[in-house]
Each structure stands twice: as C-alpha cells, then as structure tokens.
Amino acid sequence: MQEIKKDMYLIDKAELLQVIMEKKNALWRLCQICCSFPKAENHYEVTYSFANGYDFANYRLIVEKDEDVPSISRVYKSAIYYENEMHELWGLNVENIKVDLHDKLYRIDVETPFIEKEDK
C-alpha cells in the first residue's frame, strides 16, 4: 500500500480483500466505487472510497484491460450496483458479484458506452 496523495492509497489486487475486511470491521461505510479509463495510461483505475464519520479514505486499484477484479459485494451489499455499473458501462469484468444483473442495470442498447471501441 502506497500513499499517492492525501487520503488516496494505491493498493494491489492481493491487498484488496484485506483492506475491505478491515474497513468493514471498523464500521466504515462504502461511499462509492469509481471506475475510470484514462486514455493516456491505457488501463482501468478502480477507486474504492470509504468514510467513517468525517474520516475519508480512497483505495485505488490498477487493473489491466483484460484483467478481472474481485467483487466486494459479499462484504458490502451496496457494492452490487457499483460493480454492475462498472461492468455495464466500462466493460470491466468483476468476478462473482452477489447479484449479477448481466448488463441490465441500465436499459441501454450500446455495449460498454463509456469506453471507445478502439480502446477495447
């Protein structure tokens, strides 16, 4: 784990579940999960944000294009929507979501609209 800037830590995939469990046991709430695909870097960045009172912490996971991320929806139930959204809009594979909506969270015709076709 490495601090990029204030309240923002870079973690790798092996650390993720440990971090999530720590947060859960300390009663932190899941603020959001944000997926982005900066064109310059050409990889996914998944940011998990947690808050406890006024404390705030973000954990960033760097994921290559054809890699999967583990789901945290079995620890935090509210992650279901964020993870389905990630898969539907960005095409990032999330393993083993508790309720997998199979790209039916948003009723849209386009597949992975947030990512340009040549990037895929």
């Binding site: 923002m8 603020c31 944000c34 310059a40 006024y54 969270l105 948003y106 947030f114």
Partner: protein, 359 residues
C-alpha cells in the same frame, strides 16, 4: 405460512414522479423482500466529458437533477477549482451557500408535499407546495431560473445578489418561517400523520452504515454526519448543529428534514449578516490537470464528485455518485418486513430522485 406472491411495483406508479421498478415478494400483506431495478432513464451524462469542454460541463452537471441542480453545479465547480488551485472570492462562497440552502429549503418542502400526497393528505401537500413556490420566485428574481440556475462558473458565480435583495429575501423568509412552522407542526403532531409514520420502516444505525445510507436517511438513524461540517464554501464561518434523531423510523426522517428546513433559514440569515463585499468571480486561465474528490451535502445526502483532468480541455473522468444511488440498498432494507400498504410511503422517505441516480 401464507401464500407467497410477487407483485411488480412501478415503474409507473401514482406516488412515483420518476420511474423505478420494485419486485415485491409478498407473504399475504407482508413484504419479505424487495428487488429494485433502475435504468429506465440513463442519459450517460458522465460520458459527455469527451464531447463538452470542462467549462460547458458546468451546465451539463447542473442538469443531472432538477431539484438539487445548483449543488450539482457547485460540486463540480468546486472540484475543478480544487484541481486548478483557484481561490474563490469570499462573496461567491457566501452566495453559493445562500443558494445551496435555498435549494435545500425548496427540496425539503417539495419532499414534505410528496410525503403528504403519498399518505393521501392532499391539502397538506398543496400547502407545502404553496410555500415552496415563494422560494422558486426568489430563485427567479435572483438568478433568472426557477429550477436550473446557471449561475455557477469555474472561479465563482456569475450573478451577484445586491445587499438589499438579500435583506428582502430574509424578510420574506421570516414571514414564511411562521407559515412553515404551522404547516410542519401538522406533520409532527397530527394523529393521522403519526399513525402512518411512527415505527414504519426501521433502519438501525448499524444497518445504515452497512448499506451505505447517506443524508437525512442516515441522520434519522442517529448517525451524526453532515458534509457541511467539512467546511466547504462558507460553511466554516457558519454556526450550526447537525440534526439527528434516534428513532430510526419514517417519522424520524420527517423530523430531521423539518429540522433542516429551519436550520437552512437560520444559515441564510447568518450568511446575509456576514456576507463580505468582494468580487464574485476570479478569472481562470489554463487547463486543469490532476484529480480531485469533493463531497457536498445535498438535500438528499452526500453527493460525491470525482473529477480527473489530463491537461486538455476535455476531462478524463467526471464521476458523480448521487445520494439516491447510495440510498437504494437502504431502501430495500427498510422494505423488508413492512406492510404492503406502506411501500409507497417508504419509497418516498428516501426522497428518491431517479434521474439523479442514473445520470
């Protein structure tokens, strides 16, 4: 054991101004589980960053929602200002605070009306909306828009409110406060209202955290968190207490929101008394490069803005997590074990804003 059945609820339903669909698993009249599905009005506003430059995105951000439009614009501007290291003039901060609190006032009055409509108290609904109309008129007089204000810009605000206009607004709010107190006392004391709200839809504090609830939903479960205490805009100069309630039911949520109405009026008064005379915007040059995360307390709860810029005029990522998105898992929790007749009411108590949710 009674007979189990699944009842589809929504997307078109008299109490729902916007489409959300719930599949309710019923055992007789009792709801065992609720499976929400959203996605009827996804507009893909976040992906517009690749087509609109970061200045135009202010207007896109405002159109995420029709009720908290001002705060969406403000949150986005604050995030970009944070990236570009722009110091906003103090008067602009105060003006933003005043408009934000007026938005909260009108949103909560709207919600009270919808709640009254939800349990069938039509005349109370009309009174709440009559009061809200005055605030919309104030918005129109000060910004030119009744719903979408378009006064935010990166580096401050575009329109000033002259001091005598502010004084006049405070005078109007003083008059309104009396009327609001009368109307809200009906919500808090009326026997029929209480019988619909008290002990309906319990969400304990621990559940609220586990499900990631935000805003009044969370504060009604006794958790003392209000993003305004982080001191963005002019809130660090303002003296206010976070309103919480320990009852965890629908009545507590109503109580918290009513408390926030009077708190907002008080904050506006403090702002008008303290507002300094400075410029209202600073000239911003250059392109943003970097990233920023801003959390803003909207009427419905904490909204989350994540802006990532790459030094060109198009942003890499603009992420908005709206409060309703975070409250939907909490909604399914409150629906478990409730009576079928209470479902519309419970959907309303999270103050749903579905177009916000799907962006």
């Amino acid at each position: 054991m009674g007979k189990r059945s699944i009842v589809p609820y929504g997307p078109q339903h008299p109490v729902l101004p916007e489409p959300i669909h719930l599949d309710l698993v019923l055992e007789d009249e009792k709801v065992l589980a609720a499976i929400p599905s959203i996605g009827f009005i996804h507009r893909g506003l976040e992906s517009l960053t690749s087509k609109k430059d970061f200045n135009e995105m202010v207007y896109v951000a405002e159109r995420i929602c029709g009720i908290c439009s001002f705060m969406h614009g403000m949150g986005y501007c604050m995030a970009v200002e944070d990236i570009m290291n722009v110091e906003v003039p103090r008067r602009a901060d105060y003006l933003r605070t005043i408009w934000a609190e007026m938005s909260r006032l009108h949103s909560h009055l709207l919600w009270l009306g919808l709640l009254a409509d939800g349990f069938g108290f039509e005349s109370l609904f009309m009174h709440s909306w009559r009061l809200r109309e005055n605030i919309l008129d104030m918005f129109e007089a000060s910004t030119g828009g009744r719903v979408i204000f378009s006064v935010n810009t990166i580096g401050g605000v575009l329109k000033d409110m002259p001091n005598d206009m502010l004084k006049e607004f405070v005078k109007k709010l003083d008059e309104m406060e009396k009327e609001i107190r009368e109307t809200t006392s009906i919500f808090l004391n009326d026997y029929t209202v209480k019988s619909r709200l008290v002990d309906v839809g319990i969400l304990t504090g621990e559940d609220a955290i586990r499900r990631g609830a935000v805003g009044p939903m969370m504060r009604a479960s006794g958790i003392n968190v209000d993003m305004r205490k982080n001191g963005y805009a002019a809130y660090n100069d303002i003296d206010f207490d976070v309103i919480t309630s320990n009852n965890c039911d629908s009545y507590a949520r109503c109580e918290v929101r009513i408390g926030e109405i009077f708190q907002s009026i008080d904050i506006i008064r403090q702002c008008v008394a303290k507002i300094p005379d400075t410029e209202i915007n600073t000239k911003v040059t250059g392109m943003p490069n970097g990233e920023s995360i801003i959390r803003v307390e909207q009427p419905r709860g904490e909204a989350f803005y994540h802006v990532r810029a790459n030094g060109t005029k198009f942003l890499d990522r603009f992420r908005v997590r709206t409060p309703t998105f975070a409250n939907i898992p909490a909604l399914t929790q409150t629906l478990q074990g409730c009576q079928y007749g209470d479902v519309p009411l419970l959907v309303l108590t999270i103050d749903p804003c579905i177009s916000c949710t799907e962006r």
